[in-house]
């Protein structure tokens, strides 16, 4: 608990990270509140306002960010698209972190065959570029929310495993672990109470930065038509749909992209701030 207070103080001092953190919190809140916040139904189009421009380009406040080719309000779709991105980001990262940490602990602590098999799995999965792997899997599984989450998790756990394994190898030689063993502690206890806490800071930092990666992956897959299917709005999908109108209605593709960049940048800034705050302080 003490450490949390130190970290919090550290974070507050890093202005960029603090701003990013606040921005992220707002974005997540907006995404969660989308059904209430969005002025229109993202799926229903009013053809009379088809391709309406945003408010700064001659449009009305009824549709502040304009409408797409089906007359659907862009702002509403952006908000609902945020839900998909953030949901996928959080779930994939949580699952990947859990799986990766567990396997990393086992590999680092027990060594031997366990380590060799897990390391082989890690090396093999690392051989596939993330998006290539995702495309290959989605091709086979088919599009959809569950499939995306499963696919991205299947490769997402690997960095966590590597980091945790590395840290475990270091921590397991430390005195407090030897002391616990001497007192008769079982493996499970040691892993949970002696090693895991030392390893968590790295996991936390990696998790934050991975959210950014996952959001970009989801957007890329949606852009290629392999993600969550229309008519559910996704940022990547919106960019793809807007491509045909890029010349005159550039906002259709640009605004979702700006949203992605904003979220990813905030996540990266926050993650970097977290890393600085956690790094030398808790690692001795």
């Amino acid at each position: 608990m003490r450490e949390l207070v130190v970290v919090w103080g550290q974070l507050r001092r890093n202005k960029a990270a603090a701003v990013a953190g606040v921005a992220l919190a707002l974005l997540v809140a907006a995404a969660l509140a989308a059904p209430v916040l969005a002025p229109h139904d993202p799926l229903e189009g009013d053809l009379s306002v088809r391709l309406a421009p945003p408010v700064w380009s001659g449009g009305t406040w009824a549709h502040p960010l304009g409408c797409d080719q089906h007359g659907r309000d862009v702002l509403s779709r952006l908000l609902h698209g945020a839900r998909v991105s953030i949901f996928v980001g959080l779930v994939v990262v949580l699952a990947s972190a859990a799986l990766g940490t567990a396997l990393g602990l086992l590999a680092g602590y027990y060594g031997g065959w366990c380590d060799r098999v897990i390391s082989w799995l890690v090396d093999t999965l690392l051989a596939f570029p993330y998006l290539v792997f995702a495309i290959g899997m989605m091709a086979v599984l088919g599009a959809g929310l569950v499939n995306i989450v499963a696919t991205l998790t299947l490769k997402g756990w690997v960095p966590f495993c590597r980091v945790v394994r590395g840290d475990t190898l270091v921590v397991r030689t430390r005195e407090h672990v030897a002391a616990a063993k001497a007192l008769g502690a079982g493996d499970g206890y040691i892993l949970r109470r002696e090693i895991l806490p030392s390893v968590l800071p790295s996991v936390l930092v990696l998790a934050t930065l991975t959210v950014a990666t996952v959001i970009i992956m989801e957007a890329s897959l949606s852009f290629l038509g392999l993600g969550v299917q229309p008519p559910t709005p996704t940022w990547g999908g919106m960019i793809a749909e807007g491509r045909n109108y890029i010349l005159n209605q550039w906002w259709l593709s640009t605004l979702p992209g700006v949203a992605i960049v904003a979220v990813v940048m905030s996540t990266n800034l926050f993650g970097e701030g977290l890393r600085e705050a956690l790094d030398p302080r808790l690692h001795d």
Binding site: L125, F128, I135, M137, A139, V140, W250, I260, M265
Partner: protein, 336 residues
């Protein structure tokens, strides 16, 4: 060093084995019967023909045996038949490979040419406004999805300013004798300057979009490695000998900084290959990436997995090369 190399090679073999297993599983997981999918496009086939093909592809055998068949064929270059092309997958890949290879190499070169000098420069100008600006640009580079950057580039340079072309490899109507399939090389060899210029222009935007993230990460890494190197004692001693700041930076710091950067670049190639598929789609680049995406939509599983396998193997080989390069560059490993 020989021992280290041998160990590296054996790891490579295990990883190749693992890749093959995964791709094989992908194929088996695909919905529908592989044989029926293959024959489906060719019209009706008799039950006997189906059975014959099943036997030929070993589909009536247990899974591990099927895997061995798969490996045996893959090693010989047989990756199955492309359903939509009705041609062997390996042939189709060979046709489209030069386009992707040229784009990837050009992208890598462009990215490194930008990232390395900027990284060194940012380290030398540490703390200044330039350095802060550089860090901001790096952050942006890492946060921009490749396909979105591609679309922005298309919008800006292709449609608004109309400076550069946004699709294809070369202008329609420019004749070029295909020797290697690498348009830049081919045009140089035949002294076809018009083709060279056209091919170069077509490469610029996609390469920029593809390499931006990689360049940003490499620049950040180079800066960090340089700062690390500049803190070392031998830098103080080098300065004490009266060497100029430039000599100290380039001959002493950079040599040591490049060693970790080499490893990072190897990993970055993976990011390049990943982005390649979306970039080729955005720019209608006639390469393997776009082909793969089209194949996915067409449920052309053999082609999809053949391309996935190729990308994975390429990445593994690239990492091997960078690891060997690392060993060679690091004198402590080379001789010690």
């Amino acid at each position: 060093m020989l021992a280290a190399l041998l160990r590296r090679f054996s790891r490579l073999l295990w990883v190749l084995a693992g890749i093959t297993v995964i791709v094989f599983l992908f194929l088996r997981l695909a919905p529908g019967d592989p044989v029926e999918l293959m024959l489906g496009q060719a019209g009706d086939a008799t039950e006997a023909e189906v059975q014959r093909l099943r036997h030929e592809y070993g589909l009536d055998r247990p899974l591990p045996v099927q895997f061995l068949y798969f490996v045996g064929r893959a090693v010989r270059g047989d990756l199955g038949m492309s359903i939509t092309h009705q041609r062997p997958v390996s042939r189709v890949i060979a046709d489209y490979l030069p386009a992707t290879a040229e784009l990837t190499l050009f992208s890598l070169a462009l990215g490194l040419m930008v990232a390395l000098p900027l990284g060194v420069w940012a380290a030398m100008k540490r703390g200044s406004l330039w350095d802060t600006g550089g860090t901001a640009v790096t952050l942006l580079g890492v946060s921009l999805p490749g396909f979105f950057l591609g679309i922005l580039l298309v919008l800006l340079f292709g449609m608004t300013l109309e400076w550069l072309p946004v699709s294809g490899r070369i202008d329609y109507g420019v004749a070029l004798r295909p020797l290697t399939g690498f348009y830049l090389l081919d045009s140089l060899c035949t002294l076809n300057w018009r083709a060279f210029g056209s091919a170069f222009q077509h490469l610029l935007l996609p390469a920029l979009a593809m390499g931006a993230t990689m360049a940003a990460l490499t620049m950040r890494m180079t800066r960090a490695a340089m700062l690390e190197a500049l803190r070392e004692d031998y830098i103080v001693f080098a300065r004490a000998k009266g060497l100029s700041e430039r000599t100290v930076a380039v001959r002493h710091a950079l040599r040591n900084a490049l060693i970790p950067v080499v490893s990072v670049v190897g990993l970055q190639v993976g990011a390049l290959l990943g982005g390649n598929m979306v970039i080729e789609t955005v720019f209608s680049w006639p390469g393997l990436g776009r082909l793969c995406v089209e194949a996915v939509h067409a449920r052309n599983y053999p082609l999809v997995q053949g391309i996935v396998l190729l990308y994975a193997v390429t990445f593994v080989v690239v990492n091997l090369v960078t690891d060997v390069l690392y060993m060679v560059l690091n004198p402590k490993v080379r001789v010690g």
